[in-house]
Amino acid sequence: MRLSSETLRLLVPALSLAALLAGVFWLQPRAMSYTGLNLLFNLAVPIALATIAQMIIMAVNDLDLSLGTFVSFVACVAATFLHDTPLLGLLILAASIAVYAGLGVVIHLRNLPSIVVTLGMSFVWAGLAVLILPAPGGTAPTWARAVMTAKPPLFPMAIWASLGVAVLAHLLLMRSSLGVLIRGVGGNQRSVERAGWSVVRARALAYALAACFAVAAGIALVGLTTSADANIALRYALLSIAGVILGGGEFTGGRISPIGAVIGALTLTLAGSFLSFLRISPDWQIGAQGAILIAVLALRLALNRLEKGRAR
């Protein structure tokens, strides 16, 4: 049977997630419960949202290094303004989304490398976050808390939320005209231009859409942790990139997979728990997490080669 290349791309992250999950269940059968699954995966929800945000930026051949500090900034806004004065909080978040759209415009018009611009912006977001919340604290908005701790039937919230994020991102990016336009810019910018579209607009839309998902990530994170800290999500910048690549996306060429990206984010979260269950000392955990990442990516590369060989 010949699998389509898209299916093949989804297979690696899906199988790695299944393998890790099987390992966790084998080591700790009690994790195989409603509460167990929720504990394993609830921190994956904000990471999955941030991964989708990163994926949208990568779909237009850019990279966002400021995602970690931006999510931290949003978390700080959510734990202070959004809780105390919701209207002002919403205004601040809307303005930050507009800033992202502006970044897209500047990067396109001035032909700047997105890595440099977003690296610079990461200090801006980090500074704003510290100004808003100099010391860890704040209170999560009650509705965010309620959503993240809800107990829906069948599966825990973490699973439903991940599914919801995956489906929403899939519809937005793989099924809608806007998604086609964004991926088209990544695939062949010239042909999009020749067809009479405004690439500046497309890039601004992509950045704004990414910012929306990043804002959701920040609010979800505060909903889980109840309070915020200016450094709460620093790891997200690199975690999200790893999640996209793990899920079958590419750095260039507009090849992305929203469902794969969510699975990638879940895999990354689970890898940490898996190592704890293995009783690997925390000193070695980060290294071991890297080893898992390298193993999965090597598998991806091997499959890519297979795919290329078949195309000829």
Binding site: S177, V180, R183, G184, N188, S191, R194, A195, W197, R255
Partner: protein, 482 residues
């Protein structure tokens, strides 16, 4: 807008386009009438692609007027051109490889949006594919990147002829048959005739002259940015068309040495004639751009350079034509750019001998005539021609016995060219071998031997006095589809 059959669909008058010092279009006027297929022919750099860019709105001429239906147009651009029913199939494929055929259709047709666009787009492209290439067997849900080159081209052509909102009225086909086999090409040309018969207009560019002679109702010949000849169908034969593309008067070529040195390069490609080059020989690679010359150079480079550890004496040196992309180090000085390839020769135990480097710089500055007061100035302070001289000096100052040149004279003024030609000849006499790809026929007449490429293989070998513009043109343009 109502389309009248006696008013031109589009009328370009007196278009002038300059890129820096180079005049790409020198006052070209072209009128496209409904029900007409214009065959556009010319050699490299004749201005075909430039006039196409002007017509499709991608390039605004510095001078000239574009009008449609007899009305002058203001602010002519891609969007306006598309709304007039203009469609373009480019030589290099311009679909998004990461999207499916249906999604590409959506991108091409801006009016397809709204709920259920996938169904509509699928219908549009499937209908067009069925009309142009009956029995094509292409799945509209396939990702374009997974299709073969021929199928991608078929999709692109069908896309140009498809209707969604604005109907196509003027379709530009730039080498549309380059990756289609004879059967598919026949389907396409039959469709072109049908389309023209129904009142559409087509501009056809092809290196296969018989396609032009059979299909075009009017043939326009371009050379050096001008239209040099224009006749209705039947006004040209294969021979007169080739003759019209060439120039009538030309300066005599440089002296040619009887190359009898030892063979230094040999390639036996699977198709076409074998490639040979001897010591002290200047071998030219000619033909239309993109027919396999650059691939041959890269192949030669790969065969003769170690792929793991650099050799002490390099076997080949490479002079790139695209300076900005793979030639100069923009942030470095002229001297550093010159010596970049030969640093091991100028250093002792891994430490660079600055005095030797400076000496080599002054030596080559004098030998090849780099016009600068100070070799320490940044490379970008030089004119394009002088930058290219630095790249030549980089290759020639090394010990490599073979120099590969990938269209190195692109955008270089004539004076600089003459100086470099003299240096090349002198170096060849000292025993160096040059393999020279150029898009300019005049340069090929300076070579000892010339291989003419067509469709990725060597189609002809010319030597000595038989290297003439007419012979190269004849070999570059095939009689019929291969």
């Amino acid at each position: 807008m109502a389309v009248s059959s006696d008013l031109p669909l589009l009328d370009v008058a007196d278009a002038l386009v300059r890129f820096g010092e180079v005049t790409a279009l020198d006052g070209v006027s072209l009128r496209m009438m409904p029900g007409e297929c214009i065959g556009l022919v010319g050699h490299n750099g004749a201005g075909k692609s430039t006039i196409v860019s002007v017509i499709n709105g991608g390039l605004t001429p510095q001078r000239g007027q574009i009008s449609a239906q007899g009305q002058p147009l203001r602010g002519y651009g891609i969007a306006l051109a598309r709304s007039l029913g203009l469609r373009c199939v480019f030589q290099e494929l311009s679909l998004c490889p990461n999207l499916t055929v249906i999604e590409n259709t959506r991108l091409m047709h801006r009016d397809l949006g709204g709920a259920g666009w996938r169904v509509r787009a699928r219908k549009v492209i499937a209908e067009s594919l069925d009309t142009v290439f009956p029995g094509h067997g292409i799945d509209p849900q396939a990702t374009v990147g997974t299709l073969s080159i021929a199928r991608r081209q078929m999709v692109e052509i069908a896309m140009a002829f498809s209707t969604a909102g604005t109907a196509p009225r003027l379709v530009i086909l730039d080498e549309p048959t380059s990756s289609l086999d004879a059967g598919l090409a026949a389907h396409l040309l039959a469709h072109v005739r049908r389309f023209v018969g129904a009142g559409g207009s087509v501009i056809l560019i092809s290196h296969i002259l018989d396609e032009i002679l059979d299909t075009a109702s009017r043939i326009v010949v371009m050379k050096d940015g001008c239209i040099v000849d224009e006749r209705p169908q039947g006004g040209f034969t294969h021979a007169t068309l080739v003759a019209a593309m060439g120039s009538t008067a030309r300066a005599a070529g440089a002296r040619r040495s009887a190359a009898a040195g030892a063979e230094v390069l040999r390639v036996d490609p699977p198709r076409g004639l074998p490639f040979r080059a001897a010591r002290g020989e200047i071998v030219g690679l000619a033909g239309l751009g993109g027919h396999g010359q650059t691939e041959m150079l890269l192949d030669l480079h790969e065969r003769h350079s170690p792929n793991w550890w650099p050799a002490r004496t390099p076997a080949v040196a490479f002079v790139a034509g695209d300076r900005r992309l793979n030639g100069t180090f923009d942030l470095w000085s002229i001297l550093r750019n010159l010596t970049a390839a030969t640093l091991p020769d100028l250093s002792r135990r891994g430490v660079l001998d600055r005095a030797a480097e400076a000496e080599r710089g002054t030596d080559w500055q004098a030998r090849i005539g780099i016009r600068t007061p100070d070799m320490g100035l940044p490379i970008l302070s030089l004119s394009g021609g002088n930058q290219q001289k630095v790249l030549f000096a980089r290759a020639l100052s090394g010990r490599a016995p073979v120099v590969l040149m990938d269209d190195p004279m692109r955008g270089v003024d004539i004076g600089t060219k003459q100086e470099v030609y003299a240096t090349l000849r002198a170096e060849a006499d000292r025993g160096r071998t040059f393999v020279w790809y150029s898009t300019e026929i005049d340069e090929m007449t300076l070579c000892d031997r010339v291989y003419v490429f067509r469709d990725g293989a060597i189609a002809a070998e010319l030597a000595g006095e038989s290297i003439t513009e007419a012979a190269i043109l004849t070999a570059s343009f095939a009689e019929a589809a291969a």
